[in-house]
């Protein structure tokens, strides 16, 4: 919806100027940004191009960012070197906003480590405004800095809650950076400062691997380990692994060059390091000033030991208790909940607020273990310690979204100025292992807004909503049971490969397959904060008893693996399935089934489907014996397909395949983007061509296991969740138990019976 609105705005605003693109500017359809040839409003400070040597550190690790609605914020974690902190720094920010944003009551704010560095009216609807301010000395610190960009936006003419969806400001990634004045400030010289490499203007952290020709496949496992460790050390989610054959000539922002080779293969230009490498492992930056990390040693084993030093970097970062460490694009700490627990808002980075608008949004994250198994029953609870001004009309409400899905709607029934607890029940349906995001949206109605008198449109007189930071989020005790296949656990925690026997990485035969696979692994590591230890990289199908991860285009992966994992030949579209897919009628029928049709067309089957629909139950919840998991038939137009199948022989196979071989790189990049990757679920997840919604096929057969034994309470939770998704099993099971109890009761009554004589 939001996207639709903004793209309409895009078309309207763009007009004839659509062809003009600013340099450096990424014009993806998502950005929805244009730079018409009008002058920037006065309030925006024009960019002063610096003459002196300077280094630009881009601030947006995910590319362009949209701040939407009345309040929105982004928190980034920027690593700076000691030299950068010493230098004179300025902050630049480029943005463009929706026409309806009222400049007099809308503000854009940038805080660095809690200090407001920039505060500016939002008033650049026509073109990208480029602001620049000096960063006061002492604000920046060596190491990680928290940069918060927030927008407070009000509508020019409208008082409705709906109108708040029209508000947005887009922050241009290419125009938003820290500029450090001084020579060689972009250079990273210490391994510990590796996170200072940062990212490109588009928000990608490029890992450019340079290694001796022909050694890539042979040392694939080492490379896989390396790119994952680098992503963890750099704390980035959007890494991009590339190959190069020659050493770089100049420093490029956001690019880390990694030279991987034993001492004997090192080029002469880095002679001093080569000397060291002959005697022991070396993990140091080359003195060339091009951010080239040299991983070397006397032989390939020595290279592997050099890699251990990279791994240590991440372990030295400060890590809050029970939290996942922050990431460049997610600076707030993420608490881990291993079982029942209560988190205060303060613990999740919420500082309390007062709000005078119509629609307030705030979100935070928490992490669940890889064997979280409680999505079918039970409710978490947000206890909101909040006060509302008496202007707020009953009928206002709180909506809670879990991982982007609406989870609950709670009306505000009583309003007065007292702080009181309002419980918001949040069904755990959309919770998944790993990091979960919870968004609370308050939609506030007032008499004044209903009237919407001139003069009251933009300026909220009083604070309407107060939320205290001692509000809490409580998760009840939940079941812990690992399941396979479970792409959600895989995507969000790396389960089960992270702590399992080393899986094989099987890649497609194409040339770009290995970089794509490495990109995939390093992005996954960055997002899950875990490393999957790869045993070997190969092109051939592994033993079915062996765990394996496959990455490649459909036609390039080993056909027997494709068949075993259960993915059919991609077909062109729904309409001409017959011609395109080829194959016989059975295969087409199978395709149709695997695309969500009910397999059972008998009366009972249809009745079950109907009841399940009415009650919002999952498929098969009313079945007794689950149907088999059919092979999946992707469309040729699908951007990426992720599948997981447990082989009868015991190997768990996970496959990322791109139906269209020419789109391998873009498909991998897309599916592993932070907006899409956490939504992987079931046994098959598909990113369709329009990227609208992820298509998920749930497994009918799931293998359970547990790491910490089946104690009574865990078993109870697991059974509860299982029967909540297998409704009829519970109903019939309970009936059977009650029949048994009845017979037992009859027996006991029989022996205590009294005579009537």
């Amino acid at each position: 919806m939001i996207r639709t609105l903004s793209s309409i705005a895009f078309v309207v605003l763009a007009g004839p100027a659509i062809a003009q693109t600013a340099p450096h500017f990424d014009m993806t359809p998502e950005a929805g940004l244009v730079t018409p040839g009008e002058a920037a409003p006065e309030s925006a400070t024009p960019v002063v191009v610096a003459e002196s040597p300077a280094f630009v550190r881009y601030l947006l690790p995910s590319g362009d960012a949209r701040l939407a609605g009345e309040v929105d914020r982004r928190n980034y974690q920027i690593y700076l070197t000691a030299a950068q902190v010493q230098a004179q720094a300025s902050l630049s920010l480029g943005y463009i906003n929706a026409l309806v944003v009222a400049p007099e009551s809308s503000r854009l704010r940038v805080q660095i480590n809690g200090t407001t560095v920039l505060l500016n009216p939002i008033a650049s609807a026509a073109s990208i405004a480029k602001l620049e301010v000096d960063v006061p000395a002492g604000v920046l610190v060596p190491g990680f800095n928290t940069v918060t960009i927030s927008a407070d936006q009000r509508h020019r003419t409208d008082c409705t809650i709906e109108s708040t969806y029209e508000l947005w400001s887009d922050i241009s990634s290419a125009d938003t950076f820290l500029r450090f004045s001084g020579p060689r400030l972009g250079e990273v010289t210490r391994l510990d400062d590796i996170a200072a490499v940062g990212w490109t203007a588009a928000g990608n952290s490029v890992i450019r691997v340079i290694l001796p020709a022909g050694s890539a496949m042979q040392h694939g496992a080492l490379l896989a380990d390396m790119v994952q460790s680098l992503a963890l050390s750099m704390r980035v989610a959007n890494s991009d692994v590339q190959y190069a054959t020659a050493l770089p000539s100049a420093l490029e922002p956001g690019v880390l060059n990694v030279l991987v080779a034993p001492a004997g293969d090192l080029p002469g230009s880095i002679a001093p390091l080569a000397v060291d490498a002959r005697t022991g492992p070396v993990a140091e930056f080359a003195p060339s000033g091009t951010n080239t990390l040299v991983l070397s040693g006397p032989d390939w084993d020595g290279v592997a030991r050099a890699l251990d030093e990279v791994r240590l970097v991440a372990e030295h970062y400060p890590q809050p208790d029970n939290s996942l460490p922050p990431r460049a694009d997610a600076a707030l700490p993420v608490r881990e909940l291993d079982g029942a627990g209560t988190l205060s808002f303060a613990e999740m980075g919420f500082e309390g607020l007062s709000f005078n608008g119509r629609r307030y949004r705030t979100s935070f994250s928490f992490a669940l273990p890889q064997d979280f198994y409680a999505t079918h029953y039970g409710q978490a609870q947000i206890t909101l310690n909040a006060a509302y001004s008496s202007d707020v009309l009953p009928g206002s409400r709180f909506d809670v979204f879990v991982n982007g899905h609406i989870a609950s709607v709670t009306p505000i029934l009583r309003t007065d100025d007292a702080l009181r607890d309002l419980p918001l029940k949040v069904p755990m349906t959309d919770f998944h292992p790993g990091i979960n995001t919870l968004e609370i949206v308050a939609a506030l109605r007032t008499q004044a807004d209903d009237v919407c008198a001139p003069g009251t449109v933009t300026v909220g007189a009083d604070q309407r909503l107060l939320i205290s930071s001692n509000s809490t989020f409580t998760v009840p005790d939940f079941g812990r049971a690992s399941q396979v296949p479970n792409l959600s656990a895989f995507a969000n925690t790396g389960f089960p490969y992270v702590d399992d026997a080393q899986p094989n990485l099987v890649i497609g035969s194409g040339e770009d397959s290995l970089p794509a696979a490495l990109t995939f692994l390093s992005r996954m590591a960055g997002q899950t904060n875990r490393v999957i230890p790869i045993g070997a990289v190969s092109l051939a199908s592994p033993s079915p008893a062996q765990d394996a991860i496959f990455v490649g285009a459909y036609g390039q992966l080993p056909p027997d693996s494709i068949q075993r994992i259960g993915v059919l030949q991609p077909y062109a579209s729904d309409d001409n399935a017959l011609e395109a897919g080829g194959g016989d009628l059975d295969e087409i029928l199978q395709r149709w089934r695997s695309n969500g049709g009910s397999g059972d067309q008998s009366l009972v089957g249809r009745l079950q489907t109907w009841i399940a629909g009415v009650l919002d139950l999952g498929p098969n919840s009313l079945g007794i014996l689950p149907p088999p998991d059919e092979p999946y038939a992707p469309r040729l137009s699908d951007r990426a397909v992720l599948l997981q199948t447990l082989q009868d022989e015991g190997g768990l196979w996970t496959m990322l395949t791109i139906p269209n071989a020419t789109a391998l790189k873009s498909g991998v990049d897309l599916i592993t983007s932070t907006a899409i990757w956490p939504n992987m679920a079931g046994r098959v997840s598909v990113v369709p061509s329009d990227q609208s919604t992820i298509q998920v096929v749930e497994p009918n057969h799931v293998a359970f296991s547990t790491s910490d034994g089946w104690n009574f309470f865990n078993l109870r939770n697991v059974v509860t969740n299982w029967v909540s998704s297998h409704t009829l099993a519970y109903a019939l099971g309970l009936c059977l138990v009650l029949v048994g109890l009845t017979l037992a009761t009859a027996g006991v009554l029989g022996i205590t019976r009294r005579s009537v004589k």
């Binding site: 029953y377 009928g395 309970l734 009761t745």
Partner: protein, 730 residues
């Protein structure tokens, strides 16, 4: 060994069931399960399956109720930080849990009621124990006592083994010497006349010096002056049938630890609810559920208890407790629990063997119930049955069920007022969504209704329990509190059964019902207003408003109960068929048949359509009595004559002057207990849930309007004392 195995088996399944029921499953799974189980329950009910199916239905129902209780406990209580919500919310929760507990106890009690015992009698070789019959009296009229004494004396039992005692507490020395001269004179007069009556009926008259310990003291005085092996107790208005002792005494020879044989209380007249709602002829009476099912259920666990009258007790057992125990005002149940605790057994004969009178007015009905409720609460507080030593586990549960039942006014009032917290004060005392309410509360209520109807349908129609509880609760609620505040305070008040309802009026204690109705009506108005004004709360408003509406319907029906109908015929007739002869004015005797009898008169059908008997004339009746009565002839006042081609129908009124008249009247009315059984059975029809509810709604609608119109037309007036005993009035 087999016993231990069975119990282990039971515990295993109960454990699994408990775990399965307390899984916090999703609402959809609960709903599917509940619907499936309700459907199975309905099938069992529809096909009237018994035996093991009965237990299965109860198991399913219990599981659903427990699922509700689990959900209610874990998911619906308001947060304790919202104290204004929490306190009433928690009280409501407690009231609901009490209901669930009571349901559980009552299911235990009636899990397997004993079938009715076969008829029995003393065999020629049997030892015949000496029986003393006690008829305690306080203020009952001479006529009433004459009938009872005559019936008692007419019981089929060797005359030398039967002594009938009139235990008069209205003529004690203390009363006769009262400081109030009028009262003293009345007591003296009563003393003299009752002595004469007793002598005429060959009964023993006994009174005492002071009215200590009320009825228990009176009975103990009787015990002190008699020596019989067994003691039969009949309230002054409870006349026994001829076979009373034959049906009860033999059991004492079969079990030497038997202390009690209790029989049902059967009533010849409607209670105020039955009379005012005109349901007496079609609907089972209130006490049917107790005497028809619950006492049989209690009997299965050897926990049938003494109900004050219509029972035979063993003297040696009573001696171990120094007679009847009188710490509470329900000495009957108290005596029974003490004797059960001493290892004595009790037994219940499911056959009406006495006929008595219901309180005629609503106020006296409430007075009677107040005594029962206060007394049972006293027993619960003084001898908490769950921990009473000597009782078996099942007896403890049974007595808990019997005593805790009387806490119902507290819950009933809670349910009545709970919706107001939301409707008027906007407090959220029950946190659940409409969907949850539907999935849990509705299925719970349905399961409850199916179980109740299956178990008690023949004896209690749907929603009638709610009505009876409500009409009692309004006045019992404060009465219970007075017991809690001072357990020894309540005193024994004798229930008046001699009031008449000669004119239409609203009961003198009826006003609170109109006030409550009004408040509920305002609540309904608020509901409608809030639905309109606060559409975002429609879901919860509909649920609470529906609940309030339900209360309103019950309260409306109760308006009819407290609006006392003028009743032309005070006494209900029992259908009989006995040949008789009627003397015509010319002195000849005509053959005829007695078709019905009431305590006031009888109907006679003559074959001749030209009998010559005229309206408002005096005639005589002759018939063959069941018991030995020397002169089987009595005078009749012919009040109406209907002549048809088939014969003549006479409506006559008794003229009761001599002891012989009373004997004859008693023989007609009480001798044959079969006719009472028939009458009870004729009303024992399960109308089913749907028809029962529809009937109730219709009654409620009509009674609401009648109650309101009575209030406007007649207003409140006190009851009228009968000038003659009800048995003699018409």
């Amino acid at each position: 060994m087999r016993k231990i195995a069975l119990i282990a088996f039971w515990l295993l399944f109960a454990g699994i069931a408990a775990i399965a029921i307390t899984l916090p499953i999703s609402i959809q799974t609960h709903l599917v399960t509940a619907v499936l189980m309700l459907a199975l329950m309905l099938l069992v009910k529809l096909f009237r399956l018994e035996g093991i199916w009965r237990l299965l239905l109860l198991a399913f129902g219990t599981a659903l109720v427990l699922r509700y209780a689990f959900w209610r406990t874990t998911s619906t209580l308001p947060p304790i930080s919202q104290i204004a919500d929490f306190i009433p919310g928690f009280l409501l929760y407690l009231a609901e849990m009490y209901s669930v507990l009571m349901l559980g106890l009552s299911l235990f009690v009636v899990s397997e009621p004993l079938p009715s015992r076969p008829a029995t009698k003393l065999e020629p070789d049997d030892e015949v124990p000496q029986v003393d019959v006690f008829v305690p009296s306080y203020n009952e009229s001479e006529e009433l006592l004459a009938g009872t004494l005559a019936a008692a004396k007419a019981m089929d039992y060797p005359a030398d083994k039967l002594t009938v005692w009139l235990l008069d507490d209205g003529g004690t020395l203390a009363k006769r010497q009262s400081a109030n001269a009028d009262q003293a004179e009345a007591a003296q007069d009563r003393h003299v006349r009752l002595m004469a009556l007793a002598a005429a009926l060959q009964c023993n008259y006994l009174t005492r010096d002071r009215n200590e310990h009320a009825k228990a003291g009176n009975l103990n005085n009787g015990l002190a002056h008699s020596k019989g092996d067994l003691v039969a107790v009949f309230d002054a208005d409870h006349a026994p049938s001829q076979d009373f002792l034959q049906q009860t005494v033999p059991y004492f020879a079969r079990d030497h630890r038997l202390f009690l044989v209790q029989t049902p209380h059967f009533f010849l007249n409607p209670d105020p609810l039955e009379r005012n709602l005109q349901t007496y002829d079609t609907m089972p009476s209130e006490n049917e559920m107790f005497y028809g099912v619950i006492q049989r259920g209690l009997d299965r666990w050897n926990a049938s208890f003494f109900c004050g009258s219509a029972a035979v007790l063993r003297r040696t057992a009573l001696e171990t407790t120094n007679g009847f125990v009188g710490k509470s005002i329900t000495e009957d149940a108290e005596t029974a629990i003490d004797l059960h605790a001493k290892g004595w057994n009790s037994l219940y004969v499911d056959r009406p063997l006495i006929a008595g009178l219901q309180p005629a007015t609503f106020a006296s009905f409430i007075g009677q119930r107040t005594r029962w409720a206060q007394g049972m609460l006293q027993i619960m507080m003084m001898k908490f049955p769950l921990f009473k030593r000597g009782l078996s586990m099942s007896q403890r549960l049974c007595y808990m069920s019997s005593t805790m039942f009387w806490l119902f006014p507290i819950t009933r009032m809670t349910f009545l007022f709970a919706p107001f917290f939301y409707i008027f004060f906007d407090l959220q005392i029950f946190t659940a969504s409409g969907g949850e309410f539907f999935a849990y509360t509705m299925t719970y209520m349905l399961a409850n209704m199916i179980m109740q109807n299956y178990l008690f349908g023949k004896w209690r129609w749907p929603l009638i329990s709610e009505l009876y509880e409500y009409i009692q609760s309004v006045h019992l609620f404060p009465a219970l509190f007075s017991v809690v505040l001072n357990p020894n305070k309540p005193t024994f008040n004798v229930t008046a059964k001699d009031e008449t309802t000669v004119r239409s009026r609203v009961s003198e204690i009826g006003t609170p019902f109109f006030i409550i109705f009004l408040i509920l009506l305002v609540g309904l108005g608020f509901t409608i207003y809030r639905l309109y004004a606060e559409p975002y709360k429609a879901e919860i408003t509909l649920v609470v408003g529906g609940w309030n509406l339900f209360n309103l319907i019950i309260a409306g029906c109760a308006l009819g109960v407290v609006s006392e109908r003028k009743e032309a015929r005070q006494n209900q007739r029992v259908r009989v068929d006995r040949t008789c002869q009627i003397r015509t004015p010319d002195g000849s005797w005509l053959e005829g048949a007695i078709v019905d009898v009431s305590s006031a008169g009888l109907g006679v059908r003559l074959r001749s359509s030209r009998s010559g008997v005229t309206k408002d004339s005096l005639s005589h009746l002759r018939f063959e009595p069941y018991s030995a009565i020397e002169n089987p002839e009595m005078a009749l006042d012919v009040r109406n004559v209907v002549t048809s081609e088939n014969g003549t129908l006479l409506s006559c009124q008794f003229v009761l002057n001599t002891p012989n008249d009373f004997r004859l009247m008693a023989d007609l009315l009480y001798a044959n207990s079969e006719q009472w059984s028939e009458r009870l059975n004729s009303k024992r029809i399960n109308v089913g849930i749907i028809e029962g509810v529809l009937r109730f709604l219709w009654i409620a609608l009509y009674q609401t309007s009648r109650g309101l119109s009575y209030y406007v037309r007649f207003g409140k007036t006190p009851a009228v004392k009968a000038t003659r005993a009800p048995r003699a009035s018409r």
